[in-house]
């Protein structure tokens, strides 16, 4: 399950963003952090909306590799 960001997620999300930027070797200026966080919150909210919808295990992802 993907947690939907809320008030109690603020600090963990800040830490996650800091860690992800280092891990992914992405620059993250102090001035950008607020906008990056807002965008990540919105995207994670959408991800949680999708993830909470239960589907059978047999439903495969849409893009299928063709040899």
């Amino acid at each position: 399950m993907i947690a939907q960001p809320g008030a109690n997620m603020t600090e963990p999300l800040d830490k996650f963003i800091e860690a992800a930027a280092v891990t992914l070797a992405l620059p993250l200026d102090e001035a950008w952090k607020s906008a990056v966080k807002t965008n990540l919150e919105v995207t994670l909210k959408h991800a949680a909306t999708v993830a909470e919808f239960k589907l059978p295990d047999e439903v495969g992802p849409a893009p299928v590799f063709k040899a």
């Binding site: 930027a21 950008w32 965008n39 909306t49």
Partner: protein, 468 residues
């Protein structure tokens, strides 16, 4: 055929080709007039980022010297392309500062080659939102392309220059891309016709991508017939786009006279009416009444489909640009950069979940087409917002403009359905309606659009301030 004057500003591509083929006007005269018009209007509309005058004049002269040009359905028709298409000799900037350092393209995009093979003449490249991650038509590097009906308003994005150039009478035909709505949103805001074909129908070879699993290319025009003729000219096999479907061309132009008799047309309810402005609902009502669409249909889980498209877009887009984000983050439009950095941080499980949902959603929507042939829905929630406007209110909730102008287009392109966006000429600003068909049934959406145009329900209005 109505006579075509030497002033071809508001002529359709069909009229121009007929006049050139009949010898009433030369291709060179059409192109000279077009280039003069671009020079006059572009300081206001800011639709073009490059004008290929020398090439266009040479092509026109060659056409005028061709004896069998009558076989060419787009003889002498000027067109322009969103600047993510490769144009030989130009760097493919895709609305960015970063790509300006790229070497010039060595060969035109496939769709340019095929339109020129049909007699059309490329006159330039068009403004767009950076890397196509945009619904506004604004660009921090090149400035915003402007709405021809009100220069203080957005053209819509990300193919904003395409909407502005066609709606403003600079060219009768343009090409753009549509990942989540970037053909249909500018069509709606600029009051023109746009076709987003089925995913995989038209080759994307030699264009700069955004989200490969969602990217489509297609035409803008001021008439349905022009959409159909250009679409037919661009169909064909091309192994250079891995997603291109192995299907024989299915010409739509001969189908246009069939109209909508016998077609079951319904209106999308629920999600597609929630948040729509009175103008969007009025436009939808006019179209639905004209085609006798009385029944509403509920497309299941549409909000979730939009959410899934959002996740895939953010993450695939971030993957595409990861290296540029690492090395040149400061050269991005900050609004695009911050979305892409956030997209890079989304866990992979979210993307896989979105792709799994996509499979399920596709199956549910395809079942609906057993009960209908076409679905009508608004193209945008409102008419063109003002340039620079950051937020608007939909269904009583204030939300940012940039990602939400495409709330009605995103759940449709998510599963690659073909759509014709038709302009309803409301005053003072036009607004579009989507005619959505089953996969590979572009001809059905085009037939309905053509019939509505014949009935004067939909039309590309001449902007009052630019009509002279």
């Amino acid at each position: 055929m109505a006579p075509v004057p030497t002033e071809t500003r508001w002529s359709t591509a069909t009229q121009i080709a007929a006049a050139v083929n009949a010898g009433e006007v030369s291709a060179s005269a059409v192109i000279d007039a077009t280039l003069a018009r671009i020079a006059r209007l572009n300081p206001s509309l800011n639709a073009f980022t490059a004008v290929t005058a020398e090439r266009a004049c040479a092509k026109a002269r060659a056409l005028d010297a061709t004896r069998d040009k009558k076989k060419l359905p787009l003889a002498g028709v000027p067109f322009a392309v969103k600047n993510l298409f490769d144009v030989e000799g130009l760097a493919t900037v895709a609305g960015s500062k970063i790509n300006r350092a790229h070497p010039p393209a060595e060969r035109d995009a496939t769709l340019i080659e095929w339109l020129e093979a049909a007699g059309a003449v490329l006159v330039g490249a068009l403004n767009m939102g950076e890397y196509a991650y945009d619904f506004t038509g604004e660009n921090v590097h090149d400035g915003p392309s402007r709405n021809p009906h009100d220069l203080t308003r957005m053209s819509g994005g990300s193919s904003g220059g395409s909407g502005s150039a066609v709606g403003g009478g600079m060219v009768p035909l343009a090409l753009g891309s549509d990942t989540n709505g970037s053909i249909r949103v500018p069509s709606s805001l600029c009051g023109i016709f746009g076709l987003k074909p089925t995913y995989g129908r038209l080759s994307r070879a030699r264009t700069f991508p955004f989200v490969v699993s969602l990217d489509h290319l297609g035409p803008f025009a001021r008439s349905t017939r022009d959409l159909a003729i250009s679409y037919d000219a661009m169909q064909g096999a091309d192994s250079n786009d891995p997603a291109h479907a192995d299907r024989a061309p299915e010409p739509a132009t001969p189908q246009l006279p069939r109209g909508f008799d016998g077609l079951r047309i319904v209106v999308a309810g629920g999600y597609f009416k929630k948040g729509a402005s009175p103008e969007a609902l009025e436009a939808l009502s006019r179209v639905a009444t004209a085609v006798g669409a009385k029944d509403e249909i509920e497309i299941p889980e549409t909000a979730r489909a939009r959410a899934a498209a959002y996740v895939i877009t953010a993450t695939e887009g971030a993957a595409l640009h990861l290296d540029r984000l690492r090395k040149q983050a400061r050269d991005f439009d900050p609004a695009v950069r911050d979305r892409l950095i956030a997209g890079a941080m989304v866990p992979a499980v979210a993307v896989t979940k979105a792709q799994i949902f996509r499979r399920w959603y596709r199956e549910q929507v395809l079942k609906l087409f057993a009960r209908c042939d076409a679905i009508l829905a608004p193209a945008t929630p409102c008419t063109a917002p003002r340039i620079g406007q950051q937020s608007f209110t939909l269904d009583g909730i204030e939300m940012p403009v940039r990602p939400n102008l495409g709330i009605y287009t995103q759940p449709i392109s998510f599963i690659g359905l073909p759509v014709v966006a038709v302009p309803v000429p409301l005053k003072p600003l036009p607004i579009g309606v989507q005619i959505i068909a089953a996969p590979w049934c572009e001809n059905i959406a085009l037939r309905i659009a053509h019939a509505l145009e014949t009935m004067n329900i939909v039309a590309a209005p001449t902007p009052p301030a630019l009509g002279g």
